[in-house]
Subunit: 200 residues, 2 copies
DNA sequence: GCCGTCGTATGATGGGCATCATATGACTTC
DNA sequence: GAAGTCATATGATGCCCATCATACGACGGC
């Protein structure tokens, strides 16, 4: 019994992890159950032994993808060196390498718009992740109060996610790179000003 | 002959306009040719007399949607009153009314992520629109040089689009509203600081 | 070492979608 | 007012996908 459960749980996890990759790379509607299962080394039939349907998988995959996304940002902030944590996050996030690898990148930049059109279960799961991880990342913001830090986090993540999504849609590499660099530069400037001139 | 052409052109336009709405509301993959045509008061068969395929429609619809999006922003900036144009844009864009009406809202906030996964024709058309309209909106930014204004525009539109997409994905109305309000507040503050302290 | 249980595979079903060939019907032209 | 042309409609085809019923096969308990 114990071996059986372990095996199932491992497979379940492998499917979710793979789905978190594929969905970010190709969109929620861009990949089907059969392809997903085969990418996980299985066939399509066993899927419904693990999940009630595609929605249920999306729910789990979104949560998993959100966790991965946050880990990258935390890692960047923690290894900031002499840069500020915010600048380190900007450097990681608004980088061509991140733009060119959506499958392993931030879920907000690749799936937020599609998640907005999903059933409530999915959006609820997304909301939970966002709240949990937001609190964790707000700690690196320069604001005085917790409330201000949280607002600054929303401000920062919104712009980074938006800029990355737009940079991915732009067909000219030069302009796409310039977009990333410009937004990064303006955010760095804004946060420098905010840190200096504390709330009036 | 002339009447025929007029009729066809009008119908073509009606389809594109309707598509621009539906795509923003339901996603590029969220609505099919048949539904689209029936929403335009036609049946599915005649579609291929107007467009080479769905991609061709997406290309035209994206351009059309981008134009509509820009008009709203320009209108907001022009009727700013005693607010700054940037604050007026923030007020229009990061508003629950805009969040709750994606079909008539900004294309960046509803389709950028899906456009990023489209064939090159679509992304090229998107890029053209973005360049043209960006130049037009940059005029309202507070920067000293044209280059700085353009950077500030990228900074602003990225964050507004990202915030709106995230707010739409959040399942809790309270948090969603707070997200919009927070980002708006932080942008307003950032632009105030930027306008005061000109480039160092 | 046999049996039952549980995880996975095979195969089938039904629906939705893009696409296209052909029919219809109106408007223009002579 | 007849004939032809052009826009749209009807209907069909084939593909892909989510879902599910059933079959297989391995591993643990006895």
């Amino acid at each position: 019994m114990s071996h059986h459960s372990d095996r199932k749980a491992e497979t379940h996890d492998r499917i979710v992890r793979q789905a978190a990759r594929e969905f970010r790379g190709k969109g929620l509607q861009g990949i089907g159950i059969a392809d997903l299962m085969s990418k996980a080394g299985l066939t399509h039939g066993g899927f419904y032994a693990h999940f009630g349907g595609k929605d249920a998988l999306i729910e789990e995959a979104a949560t998993c993808a959100a966790e991965e996304s946050i880990e990258h940002l935390v890692a960047a902030a923690e290894s900031a060196g002499r840069r500020s944590p915010v600048e380190a996050m900007l450097h990681y996030y608004l980088h061509p390498a991140h733009r060119d690898n959506p499958a392993e990148g931030c879920v907000l930049a690749s799936l937020a718009q599609e998640i907005a059109r999903q059933p409530d279960v999915v959006r609820k799961a997304f909301t939970r992740s966002l709240k949990a991880h937001g609190a964790r990342l707000a700690r690196y913001m320069p604001g005085d109060s917790g409330e201000e830090k949280l607002q600054q986090f929303m401000f920062l993540i919104s712009g980074m996610a938006g800029a990355l999504a737009i940079a991915r849609a732009i067909a000219e590499p030069t302009l796409s790179n310039a977009w990333l660099a410009s937004v990064r530069r303006q955010y760095a400037r804004a946060f420098r000003l905010m840190a200096k001139k504390k709330v009036p």
